[in-house]
């Protein structure tokens, strides 16, 4: 009994701790939402500017929100649209690609991104990836990392609930068997949702791609300014960053060609 009392005390302490942290966080949330309102209003203003074809004014306001550290898929998408209207296609592509990291399956976004890509110089033949790879990518992109994390926690609750019921079930019974089976299934679902969620989080936070901002750029064969030119790329082209060395990136383009370019020629998505 004495041991159990100790455990009880620990449990109480833990609950108090959780409540303490959550109240702290709630205060933070409240503060955020306070300043958030201002930016929400700014977003509306920017939208109105856009609607009255004042794209420069709209861009200024959007960028103000963006630079303050606030982010949403809609904000990035609207910035992309504004740049598109201003004829700055490389920047438009940059922001569309940034949107795509958050909401990869947005139909409007994909239409606009394709239109912007049609406006740039380089037309690179994309190598179709292996179908399993694209399936996996589609599954990953069904939910955001937050949703996957939530699913994980729900499944985790189910796992613990099922095993608690199993603890109180009679030893040789059908009920117990069913509980064991559903416990295993929910553990597998747990692992699955966490794995996919982590992959999605990696994709959301990845800095592996960039857009070329220089109108014309010679891609070098090696990390040496004197080396030979492998091929030439133009503004707006998306490149995959493979390696970083002394202010140069090793990059790969959609058709598989590789080369080196200075880091200041591109902007990371």
């Amino acid at each position: 009994m004495r041991i159990f009392n100790k455990l009880n005390k620990i449990a109480v302490l833990l609950i108090v701790f959780i409540i303490y942290i959550s109240t702290n966080n709630l205060v933070l949330f409240a503060e955020n939402s306070k300043s958030n309102i201002d930016y929400q209003a700014l977003f509306k203003e920017a939208n109105n500017f856009y609607k009255s074809d004042n794209f420069i004014g709209a861009l200024e306001k959007y960028e103000k929100i963006y630079n303050s550290g606030y982010k949403s898929s809609e904000l990035l998408y609207n910035i992309g649209n504004t740049y598109y209207r201003l004829g700055n296609y490389p920047k438009a592509i940059l922001f569309y690609e940034r949107t795509k990291k958050l909401t990869p399956n947005d139909n409007d976004l994909n239409i606009n991104l394709n239109l912007a890509n049609a406006k740039i110089v380089d037309k690179i033949q994309v190598i179709e990836p292996f179908f399993i790879y694209s399936w996996a990518k589609n599954i990953r992109d069904v939910f955001s990392s937050n949703t996957w994390a939530l699913l994980f926690i729900i499944f985790l609750f189910i796992v613990c609930g099922v095993y608690t019921l199993r603890l109180y079930s009679q030893v040789p019974s059908r009920r117990r068997k069913i509980l064991s089976a559903s416990g295993v299934v929910s553990i597998l679902l747990c692992i699955f949702s966490l794995t996919i969620g982590v992959l999605r989080l990696k994709a959301e936070n990845s800095n592996a791609n960039a857009i070329i901002m220089q109108s014309t750029i010679d891609i070098k064969l090696s990390n040496d300014p004197a080396s030979e030119i492998a091929f030439t790329l133009h503004e707006g082209t998306k490149v995959q960053i493979l390696e970083f060395q002394e202010s140069n990136y090793k990059i790969k383009i959609a058709d598989g060609r590789q080369g080196w370019l200075p880091t200041n020629m591109v902007e990371v998505i």
Partner: protein, 633 residues
């Protein structure tokens, strides 16, 4: 039964923990790679003589390096290097990697030198090597010669050496009159880019006995673009009389030179090494007439002479060329062409489909520095994608310059339909004979681009949706990097169910343990309590109060079995007790117990009871309990 179930549960739980905990950890471990590298320079010999070789090695213990900058090797000349090598070594599972650059140097002058630090980039960090000191001493051979003359033997030796020296000097002078190399340059003044033709001609008196000839060193043409004519075999091509001596001559090298710098340029001499056999007269004759050259040729069989081979280095004069700059102003479209040229353009199609390539060709034809002519610059519409030009040369090298043609081919891919004009291209060259620039304008082309069958993946949408979709009105803005996954909330929420489960599990185990303990204690004390009750019952019997006796006996028995087998009072019935007794292996006693309990119940509810019966029942009960306790031991 309950214990085994408990154990079962425990095992399941440990298995379950094994799975859950590692997979929670796997995803959130960040591995930081500490960086460290060293860059060292080493030398195989710190103390060398002039003319000796030294090997110097720069070693870095990383494999991915770039931007190596060697120091200057003052006082040394580089014979070989940099040669690079990389190693990977695995000792006891420790991987060590290294990369090294090495040079072979030759000491040129005596003194003490410090070889400075080399630089290298490793993962973005610049490392510097340690400097190295090398002492270069004078060569020992020379020192020996400088040693003061001591013994007479040395004196004699020196005398002989002196004689040898004068002899070879005299031979050298003699040979130089009969064997030499001349450089002939067709111009002594030229414009930058104007071809100049240089010939090296070897003159030999046929009566000289030349045993071998070789050219160990080829001249370098600094400041020129040079093209040597291939000479398969050196042959005598004629004879000429100079200063009364008849020579045969052969061209040993012919070079077309195109000056790339302005000012006074030098054309390096050609050096050849010969071995010539001469007849040397003996001591006496030499004193009178050291060489007797006339005899040498006229009468080789004259006695008293012997033959010796001499090494002779024949060197031509150094050529000089005054290079003039091209007249200013240099026109905008000047493409480095110097000479006289024709310029034509052609197109292979005048009607194409989008994304279908066509080619534009510009041909430069004529004579001059054709190889150095640069491609013309095209100014095309943005919809016509232009690739870097390929060029095709068909050039003969002659003494007057390069003659032939050079074609530049541009591959162009139209990206959208329409009618395009390819504007005329200006080709400007300098004619050094007429001393002025000429401009040739190429033909203008027009090309019609139709919509092609093949479409870009990117332009799929452009037909359906000509314009972009509209902006989005509503949003919820979030602070950057506010990811639920990997946040403290995520960890709290995911640990919550696991901790709850662990609590429930521990609570249940604890409760079961407590119950088990009570049962064990009751089991131990069962007989003790039963004896108390039984002695109470005997008192009632002695007192003659029969109903109380039966009641006490019945209670004693029930309590005993309740404690003994941990049966709840609700489940205490004679049938149940009998069953449990059989299950626990007390079959013989179970029959008796059943009877005792049955009689007790009957006696409690029937008023007429016999004392003899009561006495018998009490002894029977005592016997059963005794036997059961004995069995337990």
């Amino acid at each position: 039964m309950q214990r085994s179930d408990n154990l079962n549960n425990k095992m399941k739980i440990t298995n379950y923990k094994k799975y859950i905990i590692p997979f929670l950890l796997i995803f959130f471990i960040n591995i930081n790679n500490a960086f460290s590298a060293s860059f060292t320079a080493s030398v195989n010999n710190n103390n060398v003589e002039v003319g000796e070789q030294v090997q110097i090695t720069f070693k870095v213990d990383k494999n991915k390096v770039s931007g190596f900058k060697p120091p200057t090797f003052k006082g040394f000349s580089v014979l070989m290097g940099p040669s690079q090598s990389s190693y990977t070594q695995i000792i006891n599972g420790n991987v060590s990697q290294s990369f090294s650059y090495s040079y072979v140097l030759r000491a040129e002058a005596p003194g003490e030198y410090e070889i400075g630090a080399a630089q290298i980039n490793v993962d973005g960090n610049v490392l510097r090597s340690n400097p190295i000191k090398i002492k270069v001493s004078k060569s020992k051979n020379k020192q020996q010669q400088q040693v003061a003359p001591g013994s007479s033997q040395q004196n004699q030796q020196q005398n002989q050496q002196q004689q040898e020296k004068t002899l070879s000097k005299e031979a050298n002078d003699l040979i130089s009159k009969h064997l030499f190399v001349r450089l002939n340059v067709n111009k002594n003044q030229a414009y930058q880019g104007e071809p100049v033709y240089a010939t090296y001609r070897l003159y030999i008196n046929p009566e000289l006995n030349v045993l071998s000839a070789s050219a160990p060193k080829q001249p370098m043409f600094n400041g020129f673009w040079s093209q040597e004519f291939k000479i398969d075999q050196i042959q005598y091509s004629g004879s000429e009389t100079i200063n009364g001596i008849n020579y045969r001559y052969a061209d040993i090298a012919k070079v077309l030179l195109i000056p790339q710098q302005i000012g006074n340029l030098t054309i390096e001499p050609f050096e050849m090494e010969f071995i010539v056999r001469l007849r040397v007269q003996n001591q006496k004759q030499r004193q009178r007439d050291p060489w007797g050259f006339d005899d040498f040729f006229d009468d080789p069989f004259f006695g008293g002479a012997n033959y010796r081979d001499f090494k002779y280095i024949g060197k031509s004069a150094t050529g000089k060329l005054n290079v003039l700059p091209l007249p200013e102003p240099i026109p905008e479209y000047f493409a480095n062409g110097v000479g006289s040229y024709k310029f034509t353009a052609s197109i292979d199609k005048n009607k194409v489909k989008t994304n279908e390539p066509f080619s534009l060709k510009y041909k430069v034809e004529g004579m001059g520095n054709l190889k150095l002519v640069q491609p013309p610059i095209l100014n095309l519409s943005k919809d016509l994608e232009q690739f870097d030009p390929k060029f095709d040369e068909n050039i003969n090298i002659t003494s007057a310059g390069m003659i032939g043609d050079k074609t530049f081919e541009y591959i162009i891919i139209p990206r959208s339909p329409g009618n395009y004009t390819i504007p005329s291209v200006s080709f400007v060259y300098f004619d050094y004979n007429q001393k002025r620039y000429f401009t040739i304008n190429s033909e203008e082309f027009s090309i019609e681009v139709e919509k092609g069958m093949y479409q870009d993946i990117n332009s799929n949408y452009s037909d359906v949706n000509r314009d972009i979709k509209f902006i989005k009105d509503n949003t919820t803005l979030n602070q950057n990097n506010r990811n639920f996954l990997n946040s403290i909330w995520f960890y709290i929420f995911s640990s919550l169910p696991i901790l709850t489960f662990i609590f429930i599990f521990l609570y249940k185990r604890k409760k079961e343990n407590d119950e088990l303990n009570i049962a064990q204690i009751n089991n131990k004390n069962a007989a003790k309590y039963a004896k108390k009750r039984l002695s109470g019952a005997r008192k009632y019997l002695d007192m003659g109060s029969i109903p109380e006796f039966y009641e006490e006996l019945h209670r004693a028995m029930l309590e005993y079995f309740s404690n003994k087998f941990d049966i709840k009072s609700a489940d205490l019935s004679k049938d149940n007790i009998q069953n449990i007794m059989i299950q626990n292996g007390y079959e013989s006693e179970s029959e008796k117990t059943y009877k005792i309990l049955e009689l007790c119940e009957m006696a409690r509810y029937t008023p007429y009871s016999q004392i003899e019966n009561a006495q018998y029942l009490l002894t029977q009960s005592e016997e059963v309990i005794m036997k059961m306790e004995q069995r337990r031991k």
